[in-house]
Assembly symmetry: C2
Homo-oligomer: 239 residues x 2
DNA sequence: CGCCAGTTTGACCAAGATCAACGCAAGTGG
DNA sequence: CCACTTGCGTTGATCTTGGTCAAACTGGCG
């Protein structure tokens, strides 16, 4: 049961103009976005630093500029669940209630934009297009969540790992060589498996020459079709 | 498959149940709601009828007036997954893409309101408050989905069944006597278990006098604290 | 070099799935 | 009215997947 979290992250105060991903990509609503940009603050966090804690106030929402973030929850008896990984361009921390149900942690070195919720609320009322943009972001998240529910509820361990690899392929670089910033424990807690099972299945895939594992954080997809076949059996990739 | 009852439903229909009235409950935006009402159509469906099919167009979204709806997906090899049960007041079919990823079916006799998406889109731009209302609805759904993910990924079978019973208690009548409109198979597919496991665990709860089962569709919560204790161990109820 | 965190592998175990039979109440048709 | 069917639900016996426990391996670093 080793699972420590190192010291805290640090700010780098200045408001920056870092553009990538979810909201910006599908825009065409530039004035609203520029205004949104103006109310954001740029922050940076060290590996394993806590971005916000379970139980804290949800006064802000965030957008990843670079690096990876995990949204997770630790149960009383040590079981952990990772609800989502967020990569550059992804939004997180958009919540309904006033209190965080999950915490957010930096998987590696992370830079994010932080937006005050109240300020966004006002802007959203003035810019219907921004409202729709935000709503679509949330709807996409909801659709992802449904895919993950299907995975956790009805897919076997190999199907889950295959789906995970394909998902990472789609969401990160669409290249044969996949670099995974997160640890095996993170992957296990994301897939609802144990670290040993994840290892064994990756090893099995390696044995079957479906993937290669030059080092633990780098996986090469040698035979993506094989992975897709495994995943297809379970109803298609989540996400 | 469905018959149209009358062109216009009425929102006041079933104010009441705790969880219900997603949109209505927190309103106070009457003009927008009345306008929304005007673009809705009231429909009714027979038990097990399909409200919309996987793969169909997502031109509409819906709100349950009475009865229960299941949002589900059938995999190629027969595995089935139920993403959500919707009871009176709940919205469903709000989606991002143009195509349905899940189907919706009537669990029992159901009456629903149907809203055209395009019409809603226009209204939403004119009524910022409605936009926020809709977004909050989706955010609540997202939060529920996260709870379910935790359950499917990290909770044991007894924890899931306990969580399910408590959830039904909260969402339907908050009375000792719980009537469950759905079948055991529906429950199993919702919890990511098999029908046999659900039966066995319900029987175990009955043996321990935590619940009584006067008939398959009626369960009495004799000892809600015991259920809560079981559920707590797994990180608290989903929803 | 030895230590430490993370990863991998093996042996064994148990939760839950699968397979099979039976119960039971609501139709249905003779 | 009574056999017969049909669709759930329940229970038992057995099997499999993935979890648990334990030990070995690897690469980085003081």
């Amino acid at each position: 049961m080793y699972r420590q979290i190192s010291n805290n992250g640090h700010w780098s105060g200045q408001a920056g103009a870092a553009y990538s991903g979810a909201i910006v990509a599908q825009s065409g609503h530039l004035d609203a976005l520029v205004a949104l940009e103006r109310i954001g603050t740029r922050l940076s966090f060290a590996r394993n630093a806590e971005i916000y804690a379970e139980g804290g106030d949800s006064d802000y929402w965030y957008k990843v500029v670079s690096g990876s973030v995990r949204i997770c929850k630790l149960l009383a008896d040590g079981r952990r669940h990772i609800a989502e990984f967020c990569f550059s361009g992804d939004c997180f921390g958009l919540e309904n209630g006033s209190e965080r149900i999950y915490s957010a942690e930096a998987v590696d070195e992370v830079i994010i934009m932080r937006y005050r919720r109240s300020a966004t609320e006002q802007m959203v009322d003035q810019h219907p297009s921004l409202a729709r943009l935000l709503r679509d972001t949330v709807l996409r998240e909801l659709s992802n969540a449904h895919g993950r529910m299907l995975m956790l509820g009805r897919m076997t361990a190999p199907e889950r790992v295959a789906a995970f690899l394909l998902q990472m392929y789609e969401r990160r670089a669409r290249t044969k060589v996949l670099d995974l910033p997160m640890s095996r424990i993170d992957i296990a807690d994301y897939l609802g498996l144990t670290i040993e099972t994840v290892c064994r299945i990756l090893s099995a895939f390696k044995r079957e020459e479906v993937i290669a594992i030059p080092n633990p954080h780098r996986i090469e997809l040698l035979d993506r079709c094989a992975l897709e076949a495994i995943n297809e059996a379970g109803g298609g990739a989540a996400i």
